[in-house]
């Protein structure tokens, strides 16, 4: 049987790229946070701290991985691997221009992947057999699944306007004519809120509300397990910024790349500048505000595309 080496390369290279990107994104985040707090940030490792992510990864992999005696060993070790697998699989949906990989129902695959990513959180929180991690996991799960519903409506609207479920087509639809950002600016705002909540980022990071939950579902993780979870989290952040760029500022590769970077930096700046909300406010924001807004907007979009 002949091995399709081109296919092998195409299947592997993007994920290596993603892992590198995640490393450098953590460096970018630390640098930007440092600039905002008027300090230097990592600057010692090689030139201006460029190799910092690699030394961090090496250090975390070599650190002790403590296993709580009462933890369930199998799920406890496998949960980070599951999280990383799921969040990397999302990158299959990257809107490549030269389509060797494309998914006709990419939007639905994205929804599936965001839903499945909850299981990793659940596994890690439950398996560590600690009160804090269980509470953190339950909170993170409730938050993620709540914000999946407005997200589903957002996808519904975007698909209605563009007329396809494929991310490539959604972005090429915007070529030449207009960004979806212009007619769908309300949806973009809701989408950004959803993405911040889905990835458990800054104003909505109740998973790691330090004062109440110590560190959420990953309290018991140390060393390598924590590193793997961290990579999973940051790769999903990068993926969501790619998706935002493709859905609302699509057109060509360069534009998607540029706006992806804008969104990635935006995530960091939001983290640096906004205080944490309260959990009940987050939930009521989702169920009473965002869901209502999205229902209204869906009706508007349905009527708009039909006239």
């Amino acid at each position: 049987m002949a091995v399709d080496w081109l296919g092998v390369v195409i299947g592997i290279v993007p994920f290596v790229g993603v892992l590198l990107a995640v490393g450098f994104y953590t460096l970018l985040e630390r640098k930007i946070l440092a600039i905002i707090m008027i300090r230097k940030g990592p600057s010692k490792v090689s030139y201006m701290g460029i190799l910092q992510p690699f030394s961090d990864a090496g250090k975390l992999l070599c650190k002790e991985f403590i296993m709580p005696t009462r933890a369930n060993m199998g799920p406890f070790i496998l949960a980070p691997a599951l999280m990383l697998t799921v969040s990397l699989l999302g990158w299959l949906l990257y809107p490549y221009k030269s389509a060797e990989v494309f998914y006709v129902f990419g939007v639905i695959l994205f929804m599936v992947i965001t839903s499945v990513s909850v299981y990793g959180v659940m596994m890690s929180g439950w398996a560590s057999n600690s009160k804090y991690s269980l509470l953190g996991a339950v909170r993170a799960m409730a938050q993620s699944i709540s914000y999946e519903i407005p997200m589903g409506f957002i996808f519904f609207c975007v698909v209605l306007v563009s007329g396809v479920f494929m991310f490539q087509e959604i972005s090429t639809y915007q070529q030449g004519s207009f960004f979806f950002f212009i007619p769908l600016s309300v949806i973009l705002i809701v989408w950004i809120l959803c993405m911040l909540a889905e990835t458990n980022r800054a104003p909505f990071d109740f998973v790691e509300g330090e004062s109440e939950l110590v560190s959420g579902y990953n309290v018991e993780y140390s060393g390598g397990g924590f590193a793997v979870m961290f990579i999973a989290e940051y790769s999903s952040i990068l993926l969501s910024s790619v998706m935002s760029a493709a859905m609302f500022f699509g057109g060509n590769e360069a534009l998607i790349g540029f706006f992806m970077m804008v969104f990635a930096v935006f995530f960091v700046i939001v983290r640096a500048s906004l205080p944490r909300l309260r959990y009940d406010k987050l939930m009521s924001l989702c169920w009473t505000v965002l869901l209502c807004v999205m229902l209204m907007v869906s009706v508007c979009v349905v009527t708009m595309i039909s006239v």
Partner: protein
């Protein structure tokens, strides 16, 4: 082929990371205090698998309902690719209206309020 490769590669990478840190990590003697679950320096009190708040369960139930509705909405979007009929528009708007009424009912029942 590409997709199979990607999925296999992703699985291998995450298992490799896991194997790597289990292999490379520093091994010290196990300490009773170190291996007990974190509870602010106290001895862990009671079981960690305690029953949790019913609110979260309620959110999960609501999620199931609304997510099924999102799933049922998606075919409407697919339908509009093949021509826009008045019937399609009316039925999708009606579906959204029913969803809205359902949401309003939940709101009035008070199941969307976190504290209360």
């Amino acid at each position: 082929m590409v997709m199979v490769m990607s999925v296999v590669f992703v699985c291998i990478v995450s298992l490799l990371f896991t194997g790597l840190f289990l292999l490379l990590s520093e091994k010290r003697g196990l300490d009773r205090e170190k291996c007990s679950p974190y509870e602010c320096g106290f001895e862990p009190i009671g079981s960690a698998r305690s029953p949790f708040s019913i609110r979260f369960f309620l959110v999960a139930v609501l999620f199931v309902v609304f997510d099924v509705e999102v799933v049922l909405l998606m075919p409407f979007a697919y339908m509009f690719l093949y021509g826009k009929s008045l019937m399609g528009i009316l039925s999708s708007s009606g579906f959204l209206f029913i969803l809205f009424v359902g949401l309003y009912h939940e709101y009035r029942e008070g199941s969307l309020e976190w504290v209360g």
